[in-house]
Symmetry: C2
């Protein structure tokens, strides 16, 4: 009995240290023994604590099935790194041992030439090949072809015997699917129904014909949404003619939810590569981050161009330069609140189609109230600090205007991107900041021009 | 057979329209019939499409079990709104019908006085009361007490008979837990093992004694991590003496992952209330968002105070006001990339304890390279635009310096908050922006002071 505590975590770090030591002393055999003594679920964690060289040494000593387990449970990018260092023959053996869906994922990530060579060496490609045609992030790309299907006439006893024969692996079936002769999906039987049914009960009698299925080309986000909505632990995948082609299990959905959340969090912060980690190589960071910084720079230069029209004014009233950034910045902060709310609302399916106008009006009001709340405090504070009432008034008014703009644009841009079929998380931040920055500087400096005499 | 497509989504919206119409025509009976014809999983979606008044009217007509299902599957905040409008007696009946863990969640959210009144009216509080002592976001708060446990001597046939008797509800057991006489956890039997075992096989023979469990006071994020790590569809929860007190099932974990991701996405964007939606009431928006905007305003005023020391310089060289925001802004953008990477890395457990220094050095290098990449382009561009080489050089150098600062501070602050036991997602954005803004303005205007003669 093990309770996940800091102790367990420390244990993993201790074992990693011991393995590292053993490898350092060239005792690779000992290292692999220490590794194999770990619970399967801990092996991944410990492996990740090793550096690339140590991982390679350890892998050279592990048997095929331990390697297959490791590859199935690691992050894609780390599996890929490790796989590329194995020989073609060894990698083929490992892939033969993996679940078809995991094997297909890895094959799809390999360089095509290596993938073909490995496929040629594999013993059993029958289950894997049909999966390769589906894109990674679709239902087809996530499903496994190793599912159990029965006919309506199958009795409970026959079904149990069949289960005994196949002795399913990690991806245990909690449902059995019932199909017609041509593999058209007819219904679903829950494993617990099978357990309590009489021996002669036919599947057709206990199956639920109202089975929820998903199309093979559906996006993985839709898969997660459906499984969550209907509380399913497995979801059948069908082709255009309603033939059962695969099954998605609950553990895949945990991965999907985690990946999608990472993608959204990264994209909202202008990081385009969802595989990036703080410790990734410098080159990978540059690839995933620099292009978006350049894009942001362009919009910042546009804002500078806006300011440049007021240079004469600023040289007369330099204090404007001290406070202009507050207007732009607070508009940006308010707008990024809106973007986060809308992007998350869209991801969770919380935004009804007919509700856009209502949301837009509400967010404009929120912007107005937040603008007044911030504008009054900042306006009075700055008026007192600089002993300049006009400055406080101009600053306060500009804040109100830019916060209303933030409420509208921060809602409209992600919704618009979604309507255009784009990912709202990806470009919203850049576009929204471009507007709140430029408009913020423009409105503040324009108001200052109007009240110029009072400001000096 | 139903495939989740746009069609299905449209169907929900159409039914919602029909129900709305029926309610408008005072045909509440018809409305409730239309509602009950829906698949259980669709009822929540349709209910959410109605407005508050319509929801109340519909609820008044729904039977206890339909209401219980709805409450179990809705978001917490929406369930709470609906529950507060029910009579105490009716709410007690609904809670009696709900799973104990869902009922306890709702009771915990109610105003204490109402909760006590409802508890008094409930028929069966035995399963619910022990759950109320656990905080919402812990293993204890997430677990259900409606699990099945057996003894080591129980035979497969007896176990199946027991399963038949209890006919488990929505939260089906895929595992059966084996306990000692005093409820100490001894092992776990998978349902599929039970299916294929002989009738006389004892649970003690087929159970896995290496069962992973979690402490009742563990954080729900740890629960999700453990279930993901070990691919579990149910996780037993134990007290300090290893007594089995509850079970967490896979559908709870989908909720946990979704909630935690929402919380992180919101907090990174300065939204403190994870229940907030774009359509929430204005007052709720202000409560969850305005305090953080005020905090941001304070840091922005600090940055203004920094700039104010250079007012004399700006009045002589107004062009500085045109470009100062680029330095601050791009530093902020780069730092928010780092914050997102570190916050997500911490949430996913991807940052090993010993790896902090390595990550810090790497991110400083990334900052340096990104700074040079942006600094050179912007420097040359602005030098040509303004025909002022010194301006380009000052701007480029300031960008490099602030981007290095962004790399260091954007990594250090979330890691530091975590080390202090704080949520790194919550305050990182504000603190990091405070630094990149103030330092950005300071370094740019200081360099400008040094090169003042060349700039004029």
């Amino acid at each position: 009995m093990k309770t996940e505590t800091n102790e367990r975590r420390l244990n993993r770090e201790n074992t990693a240290d011991k393995i590292r030591e053993a490898i350092g002393a060239e005792q690779i055999q000992l290292a692999s023994e220490l590794f194999l003594e770990l619970h399967l679920g801990d092996q991944v964690g410990v492996f990740n604590l090793l550096d690339e060289d140590e991982r390679g040494r350890l892998l050279s000593q592990l048997d095929i099935s331990a390697t297959a387990h490791l590859f199935s449970h690691q992050d894609d990018s780390e599996t890929l790194d490790a796989a590329e260092n194995l020989s073609i023959e060894r990698l083929a053996d490992v892939l033969d041992e993996m679940q078809p869906d995991e094997a297909a994922d890895l094959l799809g990530d390999l360089p095509p030439k290596q993938a073909f060579e490995v496929l040629e060496q594999m013993e059993d490609t029958e289950d894997v090949l049909p999966l390769l045609k589906y894109a990674d992030e679709t239902a087809g790309g996530r499903m496994t072809t190793a599912f159990i299907s029965m006919r309506q006439e199958t009795t409970s006893e026959e079904a149990i015997n069949l289960l005994r024969e196949v002795s399913p692996g990690d991806e245990a079936p909690y449902y059995l699917f019932v199909t017609e002769a041509d593999m058209k999906l007819a219904g679903v039987v829950q494993l617990r129904e099978l357990v309590v049914a009489g021996r002669d009960t036919k599947m057709g009698e206990i199956m639920d014909a109202e089975v929820i299925a998903i199309a093979a080309d559906a996006d993985q986000e839709d898969v997660a949404r459906v499984m969550k909505r209907y509380d399913l632990s497995a979801l059948p995948v069908v082709d255009d003619d309603n033939h059962l082609v695969g099954v998605i299990t609950h553990d895949d959905i945990l991965d999907v939810l985690t990946e999608e959340a990472t993608e959204d969090i990264y994209r909202l912060a202008n990081v385009a590569d969802a595989q990036l980690e703080p410790a990734s190589a410098v080159g990978e960071h540059l690839k995933g981050r620099l292009p978006w910084l350049y894009l942001n720079t362009l919009t910042a230069l546009f804002a500078s161009w806006v300011i440049s029209h007021f240079e004469g004014l600023i040289s007369q009233i330099a204090v404007l330069a001290v406070f202009q950034s507050i207007v732009a910045g607070q508009g940006g902060n308010a707008a990024s609140q809106n973007v986060a709310l809308v992007v998350r609302g869209l991801a969770l399916g919380n935004i009804p189609r007919g509700g856009v106008r209502k949301i837009l009006v509400r967010q404009a009001i929120v912007g107005l109230v937040q603008g007044i709340a911030i504008g009054v405090v900042v306006g009075i504070g700055v008026a007192l600090w600089r002993e300049n009432a006009a400055l406080g008034i101009v600053l306060g008014l500009a804040l109100v205007a830019n916060m209303v703009m933030a409420g509208i644009i921060g809602t409209l841009i992600p919704l618009g991107l979604k309507a255009l079929g784009q990912d709202p998380a990806l470009a919203s931040s850049v576009l929204v900041t471009a507007v709140t920055d430029s408009f913020g500087f423009f409105i503040f400096l324009s108001l200052a021009t109007i009240f110029m005499k009072n400001l000096m």
